[in-house]
């Protein structure tokens, strides 16, 4: 039973993808199957979380081969909490599709590809095998390409090509890294690999580790290899964009966390230092890129890059507390970032443009929407008592504890600049009057599903903010699994 459950983050979305594909052009049936599938995934994810919290992580070895030889799935606390969040984001995205804000093209491949993407994400969080991780990255890449191209607009095709070229480079780098690691150690399983790498000459181990981490950084959107992200994300329909923003880069960051925290815990100091400065550059580059833009989606896309920097900063410090901070930050960030994109889509539906110079007047027309926007926006900045405050607090505390005061200062400065971007959206979209005098709030909108989705995500943000201890304790226990579990 545990083995089936361990495979469920892949099995359930894949079965849903096949079923929605079979439903073909009967779009009602497709949506119904898709909702059943995501509910089943959420249920399985909660069961996995309960199992991991009871120190009985779900575990499966495929093909009858025991641990170091066969492909292994092992879902510890880190994997379980991320699978839960991924499933929840899938549910929010599917719910949002029921509204008429930035509709997804009615193409029979959209839902199968979306569930395929969730299968890739779930597999990456579940697996304990490096080559298998590469395969899940490819599954995510293939499904993401389909979702980019399915709309067929020229700018979407342009974005697809750039996304493909830059991401494929990262994937091939990962494949080369996996091949060289296998050649040097003869292992692919995380536990066996960690033990074998410890016996390698330190120069060789360092070179292999750098190759692997650089590949994951391409996937995670770190400076200077994040160009694929702001070049492509804003061409997606928003329900899909929110899912991409929530999950894809975070899988890359999770892979860095798993690699440096769990599989190869003896990270050389120079690599940690380099990663820390990369994190600072990522934060600064992302937030400055956002400051230039006026399209809401492009502003928010650059903020993904900026926030990735905070998570990488925590990973670079490398203590168990810092790993816990990275996990906490990841969970907070996934929820907040998806929500901001979804709310931007509602703003677009009501005011008629993505460009902040062309919108306005929403505070007078829809004050409740303003409050709904304030929750994730202020959480992204790090205003108490929202989840972002605690996430930033724990990361900053670890930078101070490690004596990296320059990193602390950079993180604080980037927080202020994040406030600038969020204020820009607030002032332009909500506070100022609409620039077109003939503008009236559209009457025939169907926004209820969108408001339920965004409201629920805002409630999660508030809940984490008001009771951070639950998630913080869980993340601390998860980080202790890392170094103490296998060895």
């Amino acid at each position: 039973m545990s083995a089936v459950l361990a495979a469920s983050p892949v099995l359930v979305p894949m079965a849903t993808a096949v079923a929605t594909l079979a439903a073909g052009r009967r779009s009602r049936l497709q949506s119904a199957i898709s909702l059943v599938g995501i509910s089943a995934l959420l249920t399985c994810a909660w069961l996995l979380l309960a199992l991991s919290a009871a120190d009985q992580p779900a575990h499966a070895s495929f093909g009858g081969w025991a641990a170091p030889y066969g492909i292994e799935f092992r879902i510890d606390r880190t994997g379980a909490v991320l699978v839960v969040v991924a499933a929840a984001m899938g549910a929010a995205s599917l719910l949002f599709m029921g509204s008429d804000a930035d509709p997804v093209p009615r193409h029979p491949m959209v839902l199968p590809l979306l569930h395929g993407l969730l299968a890739g994400v779930g597999g990456a969080f579940a697996t304990a095998d490096l080559f298998n991780l590469y395969v899940w990255f490819e599954v995510m890449l293939v499904c993401a390409l389909g979702l980019f191209a399915v709309g067929g607009r020229p700018d979407q095709l342009d974005a697809t090509l750039k996304y493909l070229a830059l991401n494929l480079f990262g994937t091939l780098l990962l494949l080369v890294g996996v091949g060289l690691l296998y050649g040097a150690t003869g292992h692919l399983n995380y536990t066996a690999l960690g033990d074998a790498v410890a016996r390698l000459p330190s120069g060789l181990a360092m070179a292999l580790l750098v190759l692997l981490v650089v590949a994951f950084l391409v996937k995670g959107g770190a400076f200077p290899v994040f160009a694929w992200l702001p070049a492509s994300y804003h061409t997606l329909p928003t329900a899909v964009l929110a899912l991409f923003a929530a999950l894809l880069t975070k899988v890359g960051v999770y892979a860095v966390l798993r690699t440096l925290g769990d599989v190869f815990p003896a990270t050389p100091a120079i690599l940690s230092q380099a990663l820390g400065w990369i994190a600072v550059a990522t934060m600064v580059a992302g937030v400055l890129g956002a400051a230039y833009h006026w399209d809401m989606r492009r502003i928010l896309a650059f903020h993904i890059v900026s926030q990735i920097g905070y998570i990488l900063l925590a990973i670079a410090i490398g203590t168990p507390q810092a790993h816990a901070a990275a996990l906490f930050y990841t969970v907070h960030h996934i929820v907040v970032k998806a929500n901001l994109f979804l709310i931007a889509a509602i703003v677009h539906r009501l005011t008629g443009s993505w460009d902040l110079r062309e919108v306005g007047g929403l505070w007078a027309a829809r004050p409740a929407l303003g409050l709904l926007f304030a929750v994730p926006a202020l959480s992204l900045v790090g205003v108490p008592p929202l989840s972002g405050f605690w996430a930033k607090l724990v990361v900053l505390r670890e930078t101070l504890a490690a004596g990296q005061y320059a990193w602390t200062a950079a993180a604080l400065l980037v927080g202020v600049l994040t406030l600038y971007s969020m204020m820009k959206i607030w002032m332009e979209a909500f506070w100022k009057p609409h620039p077109h005098e003939r503008w009236r709030l559209p009457r025939d909108t169907r926004l209820a599903p969108a408001l339920i989705a965004t409201g629920s995500l805002a409630a999660v943000t508030l809940a984490i903010g008001l009771h951070p201890a639950a998630l913080l304790d869980f993340a601390s226990r998860a980080a202790l699994d890392f170094t103490g579990g296998a060895r």
Binding site: A159, V178, S353
Partner: protein, 139 residues
């Protein structure tokens, strides 16, 4: 043998990287395929090369012969080849669609998703100004 494969891997990776940095979209797509070929060859060589027997367990035995090749990298590289082939097919079709839709095959002029800046401090406004269905916009 090892040196021959090493040179082949090196040539593929170098040629692929060189093609990938070109402005011509067809060269970029070809570069991705060549780079993938180099990576696959490297993965294959990671299982050690040599004149070994095929990794098939003879009838009646339960283990591989000592001289048999390592089957795992063969399985890995087969997976990678399948994925790489699918992505290569997709990228060629995508290339055709992009050039048909835009009439451009120069990567530096392909700026539909990211329009070049006309003003030094602000990005350009969206072309037609939102959707034409908005009734308040002047025609």
């Amino acid at each position: 043998m090892t040196w021959a494969v090493a040179v082949a891997v090196w040539s593929c990776l170098a040629a692929g990287a060189w093609l990938l940095m070109s402005r011509d979209l067809l060269r970029i797509v070809l570069g991705m395929a060549v780079l993938g070929g180099g990576a696959n060859l490297l993965l294959f060589a990671a299982g050690r090369l040599g004149a070994t027997a095929p990794p098939v367990i003879p009838a009646g035995d339960t283990v591989l012969a000592a001289t048999a090749a390592n089957p795992l990298p063969q399985a890995l590289v087969l997976t990678a080849i399948v994925i790489g082939f699918a992505l290569a097919c997709f990228s060629f079709v995508l290339l055709l669609r992009v050039t048909a839709a835009t009439g451009v095959d120069d990567a530096t002029r392909l700026r539909l998703a990211e329009p070049p800046a006309s003003d030094p401090v602000k990005p350009p406004l969206p072309g037609a100004g939102g959707t034409s269905a908005d009734p308040w916009r002047a025609p």
